[in-house]
Amino acid sequence: MAVGTAPRTPAAPLAGALGTRLRRFTEIAREVLRNPTTLIGAALIVGMIGMAIFAPLLIEPNTPNPYQMPRDWGALNEPPGTPGHFLGTTQQGGDVLYGVIWGARTSLRLSIIVVSITVVIGLIVGSLAGFLGGKIDELLMRLVDVFLSIPELIFALAIAAVLGPSFGNIILALAAVFWVKYARIIRGQVIHIKQNEYVDAARVIGDSDLRIYMKDVLPNSITPVVVQATLDMGNVVLIGATLSFIGLAEAGLAEWGVLVSQGQAGISAGRWWASTFPGLMVFLWALAFNLVGDGLRDILDPRTESKR
Amino acid sequence: MTVAPAPEPAVGTAGTVASVVDLKVHFESKAGRVHAVDGVNFDIRDGETLGLVGETGCGKTVTARSFLRLVPMPPGIHAGGSVLFRPHVRCSHCSGSGCEECEGTGRQPVECTVCAGAGCAACDHSGFETIDLSHISERELRGIRGDRIAMIFQDPAKALNPALTVRDQIAEVFAQHRTSEVLERAALGTSRNPLLRRYVSQKSRLFEKALLAVPPLRSRRQRIEKVFDDMVAAALAETQIPNPSKVMQRYPHELSGGMKQRVMIAQALACNPDLLIADEPTTALDVTVQARIIELIKELKGVHKSAVLYISHDLSLVRRVCDRVAVMYAGRVVEIGPTEEIFANPLHPYTRGLIAAIPSRANDRGQLVAIRGTVPELIDPPPSCRFVQRCSFAVSICAQIDPELETGPDRHAVACFIHNPPEGAAEVPSFSKPTS
């Protein structure tokens, strides 16, 4: 309690605010690690992101393009346990283990790009709608409603189809679909905060809108955005892999959905491994981010605590 | 199980409808074990209204809920003691209108099945059938809930199910406890058809309902529904709800707060219980409605002659409604006695504080008197008087020994060393010697 009585120099409140935020962060981190389900999720995330980052160390990258599956034409359809091909090979002689490891890198790239683009778009659209209000708000929110009226996957599928089948276009398609939720969250926060008295108080003091935005709106929006972004890190890979499973990515790409799709042809002949392992990775990836995202939501939103 | 500090023998005197005997209900929490109710003793006599007063968190609601075992376990723990209940039947001498034999209550207790009235351990030496509510099976308990003991909850808006009509909610009570009566009134008393009996007691599954929706069973089902309608309307009419057969088709959210509480009361009194537990029945209501609901409870009590356990934190209210008052503090009953006696001659320093805190003309200088300090933490309390930290008369023994509730003259009991000093104590507290 004595900490709170620091001298009221102009720097002190800022340092205090930083301090409380830092303390809150460590508190949240501790909560995440205390709950067994979120702990499992966090461990999986660390493991898979580690695998993505250290992929070149774990398995020799294919030249010239490491994101392309290597081909071992001497070893087609080998079962797991084959020397040199721990998880077996595909019909085209691709090493399943290579696909699993480099697929993690592909997925990490995909999810980080899509989530950061969508957060930025959502931030801009949501802030504009919330701050400007009136006609612009109405228009933007109708747009959001329209976007929400087409099921995610089908919308992304249509966009990717029009743009032409390539992994880059999958990224674009996902970005075009996933920004909507952030726009809603941010707009809700802006309007909520605009109604709060302390913003009026800030106005009276003479704070500019921008300052209010930086000081009140953004910090208060962080929590729901972080939760949504965590969940989306998983969902983006799930939907992205589905799109490439359907066939919208380049055929030789080291990507889990592509591998499952290629392996599918062999299952009637009993070659289960080429689909099973990459698919398992998609599942684990989505599961991990879902576990942590849900855990975060419960921790950050006291109202849902009783529901756990 | 420790026996209560000898309540006066029930046999021969006014009957006791329920006794709380050294009841202990604890809660497991992260910080430790909370002794929410920690050795509570009191009796409720036939036809009386007993007020249970105390501050928020003193354990009065937990005590009340323990009658019907509605305390969620876990986190609650039944840590000892029990609630004894003596079911009654209509008085055989006056058939319910009230006479000398039943002291005007219209009911009489049932002879103990174990000792045939001689008095044994099973019936707490009363000779009357005594049910240990804390230890009987769920099934037996269900038979008592809503039939012999009913409860009115604090906030009728929360205690009524928003998705069921008033009629459906009250009908449930009859469905559970008056199955045969419903069948008889529908002129189906002799029917051997299990479908109908299951329908009345709401056990029907989907396919049975389908069978009952087509002739020939359809007309019988409609007759049963009509009986339910009549019974519910009669129950509602008793609470002076205008136009009951209209009101009962409504959903709770379509009714005002006062109306909802009337519905709760109608539901509670539907089976003419021996004991009605009213847990702050007016706290959630508008002030203007409160008085009318209190009058209604008093009036219906006069008609039904049920005993009432009236829980409240409002002393002036309790004074208006109750025959006797038990004052609870920090999980204990600290004083119990006839209402007039308590108000005229409060024995416990806490009761004195409470009464002094009632705004009245005596302290009308715009000041409200407050008891200093706050309620102590109930986590693993030490063996001392619970009130010691807030008491103006506390001496050293008050912090060392736990005073017990001891009966004095005029059936007025108190748990305080001022009145019942322990033998050989070096220093004895006294109202004439304020210590702080």
């Binding site: 099921p151 359907i246 009993g270 | -």
Partner: protein, 337 residues
């Protein structure tokens, strides 16, 4: 009265959303590829192409083109499907029947499983069954349908040889009438037990694959809203009336818990619809989804446009129905108390 107002208000938004969706779909198709493609079949001569361009006003400015296309959608001219080599409108009903059969079966699986498991787990909060249903609901939501479907095939089709793949093609289906296009129901109408069993047998795996994720979503919602309603005072009040625990659960807790669950069932219908694309590919099911996937890969724009329009309108209608149902179940929503 108020419910009617609410429904009217919701219905007034509907056309706006549909027009918005059609604008997006139209814009999308104009971004890539020649617009004339959607009306072309392969055997057309250049003269015929020019004639079609003129007929559909493709030499006109964009707004006119939009109106022509939208008018076509409304009047039943949905363009030419290159994949099916036939007009979209002509192939649509058959494929729709197959997809609806799958979606309905999966929906039944999902709702039954979801409400059942959610109630079972929620009523036993923090005990083993509850933990197990939570594992199910979390893993179900993260499960890639394409992988789960393949796992089912590996185990039950390749491994055990129990289940067939594809839609029932029993001879009997050639001989009976198809008034609904849903084989199982057609079989019932034709009173053919063998046909019915065969249809269900073929439906089983794809319906489970498709319903699994939705079941997980419903389970989760049902569990949490049941846990919430179990802690409501009216549940204690029901116990205080002497109701057995079974009735407390059925009449009081579950009834109220179902209300928020209904909205989730509506929302997860979209999840089910999009899942058909993947499930139909894996199980070789001749429905709309597989057609759409083929169309996407071969740039069959007419099919894509028709499919996206159809699914989103269906999705909107289902959600409208759910909202109305919700308002009916929980009148407090509308009355605002």
């Amino acid at each position: 009265m108020q419910i009617k107002d609410y429904v009217l208000r919701r219905m007034m938004v509907l056309p706006i959303l549909i027009i918005g969706t059609s604008l997006i779909v139209f814009t999308l198709t104009r971004v890539g590829g020649s617009p004339v493609g959607i009306y072309l079949s392969h055997e057309m001569t250049p003269e015929e192409v020019a004639e079609i361009e003129q007929r559909y006003g493709l030499d006109q400015p964009l707004p006119v083109q939009y109106l022509t296309w939208a008018g076509g959608m409304l009047t039943g001219d949905w363009g030419w499907s290159g994949v099916a080599a036939a007009p979209v409108r002509q192939v649509f009903p058959d494929k729709l029947g197959a997809t609806m059969e799958l979606a309905v079966a999966a929906g039944i699986v999902a709702v039954a499983l979801g409400i059942g498991l959610g109630t079972y787990g929620g009523a036993r909060r923090d005990r083993l069954p509850d933990h197990l249903t939570r594992v199910f609901s979390i893993s179900g939501a993260a499960m890639p349908i394409f992988w789960f479907g393949i796992l089912l095939l590996i185990v039950f089709w390749v491994g055990l040889g129990w289940a067939p793949i594809g839609r029932s093609d029993a001879d009997i289906f050639q001989s009976i009438a198809h008034p609904t296009g849903l084989y199982a129901i057609d079989a019932i109408i034709a009173v053919s037990w063998t046909a019915f069993v065969d249809a269900i047998w073929h439906l089983l795996l794809p319906a489970i694959a498709l319903g699994f994720g939705t079941a997980a979503i419903i389970t989760r919602m049902m569990r949490s809203s049941l846990v919430e309603s179990m802690s409501e005072e009216y549940v204690d009040a029901a116990r205080a009336k002497g109701l057995p625990e079974k009735l407390v659960l059925r009449r009081h807790a579950r009834r109220n818990a179902l209300i928020p669950t209904v909205t989730v069932i509506g929302l997860s219908f979209g999840f089910l619809l999009q899942g058909t694309v993947v499930v139909e590919i894996i199980f070789r099911w001749p429905g709309l989804g597989r057609w759409m996937a083929d169309a996407v890969l071969r740039g069959d724009q007419a099919t894509i446009m028709a499919y996206v329009m159809f699914t989103s309108v269906l999705f909107l209608l289902v959600n409208l129905a759910v909202d109305v149902m919700y308002a009916y179940l929980d009148r407090r929503v509308v009355l605002g108390t």
